[in-house]
């Protein structure tokens, strides 16, 4: 418990008033977002302050014509991968107040499936290999099974004369004639 409190005190950047104020300005929509691409270090610092980030964390998108401007390039992290027991301002969304959103934030909300899962126990390529292996095996077996069919022909026991017609519950008044030879029932799938 004491350890947790210490850890909380260490995260001073969340509680420093400067960051709070600038986050609030960003969140209240006073500034127009995004601004032009920052060229000089001073502009970078100003942009970082606008988004409530530290200068060393701030990294804009490359200025390659997509028009992202000075919007910060954030880590792709789904909300599912965030600490579920963390001290969030909005625990159901796992977000803090005034936190900068990723530019594609709607991919990372909790209602979306997590496509960018981090810390997989088994790496993705191995997972795909296992799934693909199982499915390929099944498909191969299916094709083979379609080609080489296995069938043990078994017929019902047949009795001479009229095949125990009356004894099997037939109508005694309408005993059919003796069949000329034994017949096998035709299966519809041969």
């Amino acid at each position: 418990m004491a350890l947790a409190r210490c850890a909380r005190c260490l995260r001073f950047d969340r509680f420093s008033p400067v960051v709070r104020v600038s986050s609030a300005r960003y969140a209240s929509g006073d500034v127009s977002l995004p601004g032009p691409y920052p060229e000089t270090p001073e502009e970078r610092a100003a942009a970082a302050k606008k988004y409530g980030m530290r200068v060393e964390d701030y990294e804009p998108y490359a200025d390659d014509g997509w028009g992202w401007g000075d919007y910060p390039k954030l880590k792709k992290q789904h909300a599912d991968d965030r600490d579920p027991h963390g001290d969030w301002d909005f625990p159901e969304d796992r977000r803090n107040w005034g936190e900068v959103m990723h530019i594609e934030q709607d991919l990372f909300v909790r209602q979306r499936p997590n496509a960018y899962k981090q810390n997989r126990k088994i790496p993705l390529w191995k997972q795909s290999m296992i799934l693909g292996g199982i499915l390929t095996t099944l498909a191969t077996l299916g094709i083979l099974g379609n080609k080489y069919k296995y069938f043990v022909p078994v017929g019902p026991k047949q009795y001479p004369f009229n095949n125990l017609y009356v004894e099997k519950g037939g109508d005694p008044d309408a005993v059919p004639d003796t069949p000329k030879n034994y017949t096998f029932p035709t299966s519809s799938y041969i």
Partner: protein, 637 residues
């Protein structure tokens, strides 16, 4: 006076549907004394409308008791109509009530078909729903909105019955959609939970994919047969070779979406976010079998190309194997039962694949009883352990919850032990599979799935009952509640008797000629499975827990991880350019950001003309008329 049995049956069934429809709109009024503080309903404050201070009584309006009573009556009525059919050999009754749109080339009418499938399904569904309604009256007492919950369950049942009894494809679609929609509403019952709403979304989206299939089928049959009538479509003699693959594809897609076959399965386990009665009613006994039921109804279409049979067979077998192998490694008791449901659905589809729709339907009916009972048992356990779902934290329940635990054992055994309901149908399906020459893989997959069924069933039994109690929390509820016990015992009776009753009195199960080895397989294989389970329980170490195979079974063969990721990445890659250039680019500039300034400017220009001077009005009118004249002369000449 001679009353024909078909008249009795049709009037009874129409009456049942009508009463069910009407019962949605009624409450029941109940008086509760204030002195009886133990009664849980006092606390729920669902709809306390008037309080009489002198008598210390509260009048409450709740639709629960009324729904229970109605369902009870209807269940008895449906059993009555079933018994009438037993004695008289009635093939099917076709009722056309009215023509909706009679002037179109496609006649759309209110067309019901009362055949044996529907009659049996009706009684099974009503009995199961009656029990589940009773159970949910026990389970949902503390929910402030429980009255709406019972009503939603009733509406769902109505939709399900419409789906099963209708002959017109449009009515089938109505019931199909209604079932999907109500499942969405019921899964997101605790709608403020993120997980509940996202799994409801997942369910509804997967159902949409299934609906694409059904709509394909409807559209193509309207195009091809000029009819929305199922009997017309099935009995039509038209040569439909070019379109038949697409029709069948639509049907299989629809069934796979609704019945959670492999590939579209992830929504079924996700549904456990809903309340337990919902899992019991929708996701084990009624709604999920709608896909199989559709295949049963349309099975005549499958007769010609054998490759479709093979495909359906392998689809069902894969589902059965997948779900069973996943179930053995889960720790959530509801999840195990849900995967077991998926596995049984796979078995039903296998039965369709080998061309035995009657057996699939038989399995639907028996499965409904014991699977609903298993879910209710798990609900009771979870409720009693104060919302503990982890299998490893249960133990020694037999001393604490005797009725629930005996029902749980009965339900787990129902698939394996002879003379219980599930065994009748499952045995027949395995027999038919081994007697067919379609594909070897079908029989292999279903036998392996059967073995794994035994494994996970015994795992539940072992963890719940063999060890000493390991739950930390004190027991919050006891099982001394009539609503719980009655529901469980009724379903237990069904579990014991339904297989015998249906196979002897209703269905005429086809007989197969199989070797004694194949005949013995359904008996031997579970024993092997149970032996393997105990072997592995003894010998399993933490090393085997970390193995790839174990991870593959716990994470559902990595299907969700790998396939969802690839789908999302693919669609993102495709949609990045469009979203960047259109949604946040040209489209935005031209559309929302462009139209508003343009029309504002034009509006200002046209307003500038309204200066209020009549001389200039007439002058500008004449001038503009002359301009138009000149222009039209120039253009036209």
């Amino acid at each position: 006076m001679v009353i024909s049995p078909s008249l009795i049956i049709s009037s009874l069934n129409l009456g049942i549907l009508t009463i069910l429809l009407g019962s949605i709109f009624f409450f029941s009024k109940s008086y509760f004394s204030k002195g009886n503080v133990n009664f849980p309903l006092i606390k729920t404050t669902s709809a306390c409308l008037s309080v009489n201070n002198d008598k210390e009584e509260t009048i409450e309006y709740n639709s629960g008791p009324f729904a229970m009573a109605i369902l009870k009556v209807l269940a008895f009525l449906s059993v009555l109509s079933l018994l009438v059919t037993c004695n008289n050999s009635i093939q099917s009754i076709n009722i056309t009530l009215s023509l909706w749109l009679s002037n179109t080339p496609l006649n759309i009418s209110l067309n019901f078909i009362y055949d044996q499938y529907f009659l049996v399904f009706l009684s099974v569904a009503l009995i199961v729903t009656w029990s589940i309604m009773e159970f949910s009256f026990y389970y949902m007492t503390e929910d402030p909105n429980s009255s709406a919950f019972f009503r939603l369950l009733t509406i769902f049942l109505l939709n399900m019955l419409i789906l099963t009894c209708s002959n017109s494809l449009f009515l089938i679609f109505l019931g199909w959609e209604g079932g999907g929609f109500l499942s969405f509403l019921l899964i997101s019952w605790w709608t403020t939970r993120n997980d509940a709403s996202s799994s409801a979304l997942e369910a509804v989206i997967t159902n949409r994919i299934g609906n694409i299939g059904l709509i394909t089928f409807m559209a193509l049959s309207a195009l091809n047969f000029n009819s929305s009538n199922l009997t017309n479509i099935l009995s039509s003699n038209e040569n439909l070779t070019p379109l038949l693959p697409f029709l069948l594809f639509g049907l299989i897609l629809a069934a796979a979406g609704k019945s959670a076959q492999f590939g579209l399965h992830p929504w079924l386990p996700a549904l456990l976010e809903g309340p337990t009665p919902v899992s019991a009613l929708l996701h084990s006994s009624t709604m999920v079998v709608a896909g199989v039921f559709l295949l049963v109804r349309t099975s005549e279409l499958f007769s010609s190309p054998l490759i479709t049979h093979s495909l359906v067979l392998i689809l069902g077998g894969t589902t059965a194997l997948f779900a069973a192998s996943t179930a053995i490694a889960q720790h959530d008791i509801k999840k195990i039962i849900a995967y077991s449901t998926t596995s049984q659905l796979g078995l039903m589809v296998t039965a369709i694949g080998i061309g035995q729709p009657a057996l699939a339907f038989f399995h639907i009916c028996t499965h409904a009883f014991f699977k609903a009972m298993l879910f209710l048992c798990s609900g009771s356990v979870i409720h009693s352990l104060s919302d503990e779902q982890d299998l490893r934290k249960m133990g020694g329940l037999s001393k604490l919850l005797p009725v629930t635990s005996s029902c749980l054992i009965l339900g787990s055994l129902a698939l394996m032990a002879p003379l219980l309901a599930g065994f009748y149908s499952k045995d027949l399906i395995l027999e038919a599979t081994s007697a067919s020459v379609l594909n070897l893989l079908g029989i292999v997959l279903s036998i392996v799935a059967t073995m794994l069924t035994a494994v996970y069933s015994f795992r539940i039994i072992f963890f719940c009952f063999s060890l000493s109690p390991s739950c930390s929390s004190p027991f919050s509820h006891s099982e001394e509640n009539f609503n719980l016990n009655n529901a469980l015992l009724r379903l237990a009776t069904g579990t014991i008797a339904s297989g015998w009753f249906f196979s002897n009195l209703l269905f005429a199960p086809p007989s197969f000629n199989v070797t004694s080895l194949a005949k013995g397989t359904p008996l031997i294989v579970p024993i092997i499975g149970v032996a393997a389970l105990f072997m592995s329980l003894i010998s399993s170490t933490s090393n085997s827990i970390g193995s790839n195979a174990h991870s593959a079974t716990t994470s559902q063969w990595f299907f969700v991880d790998a396939v969802h990721l690839s789908i999302i990445t693919m669609s993102l890659a495709l949609s990045f350019f469009s979203s960047r250039t259109l949604d946040r680019g040209w489209q935005e500039n031209i559309g929302p950001q462009g139209i508003a300034p343009t029309s504002t400017a034009l509006s200002k220009i046209s307003q500038a003309g309204q200066i209020g001077l009549i001389k200039r009005y007439i002058l500008s009118s004449m001038a503009s008329v002359l301009v138009i004249l000149a222009l039209s002369l120039l253009i036209l000449s």
